[in-house]
Amino acid sequence: MTIKKTGLVLGICCAALFLALLAGCGGGGSGKTVKIALQAPITGDYAYEGQMAKQSVEVAAELINKAGGVLGKQVELVIVDDASNPKDSALAAQKAVSQKVAAVIGSYGSSVTEPAADIYEKNKMVSVGYGCTAVRLTMDKERKYFFRTCGRDDAQGLFFGTYAVETMGAKRIAIMHDNSTFAKGVADEAMKALEPYMAEGKTEVVYFDAITPKEKDFSAAVTKLRETKPDVWYFTGYYPEAGLLIRQARDAGLDCPFIGGNAAINDDFVKIAGLDVAAGALMTQEPLVTDVTTDIASQFKSLYQEKFKELPSSPWPVYAADALYAIVGAIDKAGKLDSDAIAEAMRTKMDGVQGVTGALLFSDRGDRRDVPYKMYKVDPEGKLVVAEL
């Protein structure tokens, strides 16, 4: 009896494998469309980011296709899921490669993007990251085919450092992260940016520590933080923790200004913290989609609103859309689907290519040029506005 069942199970496995194989072999490109892959965390811990990225890219593709597509062909999206984990990321990248797409958008997290970028590099395929901000992605290793539309941790860290010391005149600075690749990256870079000021004696970092993500009670950490009497408090982690942190800090009687990194503040942050304490929170951030008034931005916003009844609640999905604009622009400029030509165009021929967040220009190392940072503030209605001084 075990034999029969074993056979059955084996049979099912084989059949499933075979079916999956068939499904996997659908690729190749029909010639009428240009296939572009989006590698994003559709499942896993950052599933909400991946799903919003998918929606954003779909909206951008629709707009591009309405405007005539690229090289006279329609853009066809291929979605591959990396589940926010390095192993699945390598598999997702390999899947995108075997589908013979023209270029790839992706991915979200830096340590997840890294193995994928290596695979794309090996296979000579252009990939454009949209949420991976670690400096080392472009600076540690020369990658010919890797680009990103988001800014880098060091730019954000520098912006924070300058703003906190020069603009706010903070003498005692607290930096908190959550031990994730992204948050620790920004926190480390902020620390680096503050070092010259500390050498001059203009400021000091009184607190630098991590909280544990996915926990809910940070009262011990904020009590410790309060005892260091900071003038400003920079949290570089994600919004679920940020919301809990600021509420618990205010409950514990810590009243210094709260500055979040660009993953810390969004509508959900306000909901979690409650408007009473969220109002006034600051955030270091690239220009938000709501503040960009270019044509593309307004088209994007209205179509997104129409399709999904809301706007993306975090900035990253918009960078995914911009990655698509950049790829399409580069293909247009290159005039062909050859990876070398696309990479070349990305570096040198992007004049005039616009995305949702503005001009899309890239440095030799693949970083986006001129990413402006602004200090945003949660206004009394819970909306994010550029902070007035």
């Binding site: 909400y48 996915k214 009670d217």
Partner: protein, 303 residues
């Protein structure tokens, strides 16, 4: 010094949640010798059900019964439905697998945990949800110089009351005696005429019911709930259970409270980044010297 006491109170608050979840673990473990990995996710389910009840129907429950009455009524509904879920989990995932041994049960429990967690994600979405401020009582005051909120005091009060009730049930009632007997030696308990099925039903209703209420309280207290919140609480509560001596009800409470306080003190005075490393090192160190936990009885090997 007042900061120290403040950290202590912080720790007790965290610890009381661990303890409430740990109670369910420990009760189930005692009777079934099973690590119910799904327990943490039932806790999360309680939080989400509470969220839906309180915010759904535009807050009709709180509107018609007042804030505290509404929350109380919701807690009752949550307790009942999560208890039902707990009993269902036992029927579906554990009872058929029980004869196959403890290792299979672990896999079955992991499967159930993954299932519930992802079902929550499929129903309520992957983004964290927040309890609206309108359903959360808010009042801050200072108690001997320690800033506390009304909610914190209430949560602590309710937690300790619940723990006391459970302790009384388990230690003093007939049913509790049956539970303890089944935990001690299931086969003898059956021989003595204890209906072990009833006992199992009871612990799988009581444990998760309690966990569900803890989930609701957790949601109200921290406001934010996420579909994967159960995993972390589950792991910590399991740690607390072991720390106190698994299967030992007062041990679970003590373990939870100690774990909470230790975590707070580590995060407050040592390092937030290394906190969990030290927690586990401490746990291992304790187990080296007390191999059956703090309150676990040192049983001689029966040969």
């Amino acid at each position: 010094m007042s900061t120290f006491f403040e950290q202590l109170v912080n720790g007790l608050t965290v610890g009381s949640f661990y303890a409430l979840v740990a109670l369910g673990y420990s009760m189930v473990y005692g009777v079934m010798k099973l690590i119910n990995f799904a327990h943490g996710d039932l806790f999360a389910l309680g939080a989400y059900l509470g969220y839906s009840l309180l915010t759904g129907a535009t807050g009709k429950i709180t509107a018609s019964m007042g804030l505290w009455g509404g929350i109380g009524f919701t807690a009752l509904l949550v307790a009942l439905s999560v208890a039902l879920a707990g009993v269902l989990v036992e029927r579906i995932a554990y009872r058929p697998v029980y004869p196959s041994g403890r290792l299979s049960l672990v896999v079955s429990a992991l499967g159930m945990a993954i299932f519930i967690q992802n079902a929550i994600m499929a129903i309520w979405g992957s983004r964290p949800q927040a309890f609206p401020a309108s359903v959360v009582p808010s009042l801050r005051f200072s108690f001997f110089g320690i800033p506390v909120t009304l909610l914190q005091v209430t949560i602590l009060g309710i937690s300790f009351a619940l723990m006391l009730i459970i302790w009384l049930i388990v230690e003093k009632s007939n049913f509790g005696a049956a539970v303890r007997a089944s935990a001690l030696d299931r086969e003898t308990a059956i021989l003595l005429g204890i209906d072990v099925r009833k006992v199992i039903f009871f612990v799988f209703a009581l444990g998760p019911g309690l966990g569900g209420v803890a989930g609701l309280m957790n949601g109200l207290y921290y406001r934010a709930i996420s579909f994967n919140m159960g995993w972390n609480y589950g792991l910590k509560a399991f740690t607390a259970t072991i720390l106190g001596g698994i299967g030992n009800i007062p041990g679970a409470m003590l373990g939870g409270l100690i774990l909470g306080v230790v975590e707070s003190l580590l995060a407050g005075y040592v390092s937030g980044a290394w906190k969990d490393v030290f927690v586990f090192i401490l746990l291992i160190a304790i187990l080296i010297f007390r191999p059956t936990g703090l309150l676990g009885e040192k049983t001689a090997e029966k040969v």
